[in-house]
């Protein structure tokens, strides 16, 4: 029946509307069942007291939310996440810019490097996490062995606060920098050569060209990188879970691992749900703020 309705869809407005609804409806139904319904359920759980695996306690209003906000674990997970997000994005942007600028010069062999640098993007974060855990291993890890060969006593990476944080950062930079490179490269290659020609004629040097032409024109690409990488970094789970499990002493605990632990280890579904919603709201506010901040002035 749907097909016969769609066949008749002609140029008139009403049948176009029907066609649009019919085309999008199956996906919307699936989304409603797999996103909307669970989220509403979670919202309900977040305002009820939960006891162990049971979720049918009494109505407690915003108590779960207040408990989460007041818990020191949540606060330290929040600060760890914010620190992780900002450092990882800055490092990725610096490396990403350096590599993309070089690749954009189209020197011989850059095609090969481009394929090579895409690989980490396709790899499961779990595998990357395990690879780095083996590389960073205290006793038999190759990183510490190489360090000791050149006379440096490597730290106990996973046993020390900054060692563990550095390991998580490096593993994540390995996974995500390729994305930054690809986006910057795509945006750079669409910039017009004429502008650069004109700037060179005016006697601008490489640094001036970069800061006055390249950077401003790449603003939309940078915005996109920030928004995508920000929400990715906010949800980081696999790498941390595999590498450090939030330790030592909660020093690498991030929001996702905190929510996971309080829900599935601490078995407090109410607080887990409440924490999820708090994280969701934070990401929405930050993304919205970024859009406002970095969008070109004319369409504000």
């Amino acid at each position: 029946m749907a097909v016969s309705v769609m066949k008749k869809a002609g140029r008139n407005k009403r049948s176009r509307r029907t066609a649009g609804i019919l085309l999008t409806l199956p996906a919307l139904i699936v989304m409603a069942a797999t996103v909307l319904y669970p989220i509403l359920w979670s919202l309900k759980i977040s305002v009820f007291e939960s006891k162990g695996m049971m979720t049918s306690g009494s109505f407690v209003g915003l108590e779960n939310y207040i408990n989460v906000l007041q818990s020191s674990q949540f606060q330290s997970a929040l600060w760890n996440t914010l620190g992780f997000v900002s450092v990882t994005i800055i490092v990725e942007l610096i490396i990403g810019f350096a590599v993309a600028l070089v690749l954009n010069r189209s020197l011989p062999g850059t095609k090969f490097f481009r394929v090579l640098f895409t690989l980490p993007l396709m790899i499961a974060p779990v595998v990357s996490g395990l690879q780095w855990r083996w590389l960073f291993a205290d006793q038999y890890g190759v990183i510490n062995s190489v360090l000791s060969m050149i006379g440096i006593d490597g730290p106990l990476w996973m046993g020390s606060v900054w060692g563990a944080r550095t390991a998580v950062l490096i593993a994540n930079v390995w996974l995500a920098t390729p994305f930054v490179i690809l986006i910057l490269l795509a945006a750079m290659s669409s910039l017009s050569e004429d502008l650069y020609e004109a700037a060179r004629l005016d006697g601008a040097n490489a640094v001036q060209i970069f800061t006055n032409i390249t950077l401003p024109l790449l603003k939309p690409a940078i915005l996109m990188i920030l928004v995508v990488r920000l929400s990715d970094a906010f949800r980081v789970f696999d790498i941390v879970y595999i590498l450090t499990q939030g330790g030592p002493g909660g020093s690498t605990e991030v929001l996702s691992t905190y929510i996971y632990k309080s829900t599935f280890t601490g078995l407090n579904f109410g607080q887990g749900s409440a924490a999820s919603f708090l994280v969701m709201i934070m990401i929405m506010i930050i993304s919205f703020g970024l859009f406002r901040l970095l969008r070109p002035k004319e369409d504000r």
Binding site: G10, G20, W41, A124, W132, W134, I259
Partner: protein
């Protein structure tokens, strides 16, 4: 002039080679570990070139049979969920791109916004839902769970491609008597085949690489996927670096081959948003 040109080339290649070393080293070390004996694996200073080379870890994981179970679960879950997602979301992407109705813009924005949510937000309700449906530790639980992840991804990638199809082509098709359904099947889909290919690869990869939901929804090798299986070799209680490495290599080789062959399309798919107006 000539000299500074050369200097900048040397600097460029230095950056490229440093980055390559950073990217390749973890892969290389995992591969080397997978063909080393236990003694060489733990020797100090490290053994760089394995001698003798052993395939022990590979035959171990295959003999134990768990590898096949993880592989079967991963293929089933990723394949079936991708298939369902594609069937549902290709028409949806076309609908959002070419047809307007009340709230269609808002609905599309919502679909895109859902991509930004941290998946852990869905962890609690999915677990409760699957427990109530009695689906914990089944492939079906993961298939259902992966649908929203894939739908939002596919719709996001394909909407842009469908929007680029010139309206003139569609109008010509209408004059030839094609309705919505005909235009979709005979014009939009064939023209977007490369993009659809890219979207399906990414959708498959999203399921193939997923860890967190699999961790909460699976219990035994009746439903555990590769990421869970691999992580299981290295826990607080046991560390089988050899088996982990061998499994990891077998798990990522298809992905690497795919990336090399389909890299042009994949880069296009990844960067679609950056060049979108």
């Amino acid at each position: 002039m000539m000299k500074s040109f050369k200097l900048s080339n040397i600097l460029s290649y230095f950056i490229l080679i440093a980055m390559s070393a950073f990217v390749i080293f973890p892969f290389l070390w995992t591969f080397l570990t997978s063909i080393k004996t236990e003694i060489q694996m733990f020797s100090v200073p490290p053994v760089w070139i394995p001698d003798p080379v052993t395939t022990q870890h590979y035959s171990d994981i295959i003999d134990e049979g768990q590898f096949q179970a993880f592989m079967k679960n991963s293929l089933t879950v990723s394949g079936v969920s991708t298939l369902i997602s594609m069937l549902v979301s290709i028409p949806a992407a076309y609908g959002f791109a070419k047809y307007r109705y009340k709230f269609s813009g808002l609905l599309f924005a919502t679909v895109v916004a859902i991509r930004m949510f941290p998946p852990i937000v869905m962890g609690v309700p999915f677990f409760l839902m699957m427990r109530q449906l009695g689906l914990i530790d089944t492939n079906l639980a993961l298939i259902i769970t992966y649908l929203p992840l894939q739908l939002t991804l596919i719709i996001w990638i394909l909407e842009g491609f469908f929007r680029q199809i010139p309206n003139e082509i569609e109008e010509a098709a209408e004059i030839d008597g094609l309705g919505t359904f005909g235009k979709f099947l005979k014009i939009a889909v064939p023209l977007s085949m490369p993009a659809i290919g890219v979207a399906s690869i990414f959708s498959f990869l999203a399921a193939w690489n997923e860890f967190m939901f699999a961790l909460t929804l699976t219990r035994t090798d009746a439903s555990q996927t590769m990421p869970i299986g691999i992580a299981g070799y290295v826990t607080t209680f046991q560390t089988f670096w050899g088996k982990m490495s061998a499994t990891g290599i077998l798990y990522i080789i298809p992905v690497i081959i795919f990336t090399i062959f389909a890299q042009k399309g994949m880069i296009k798919g990844l960067t679609a948003g950056a060049t979108k107006e």
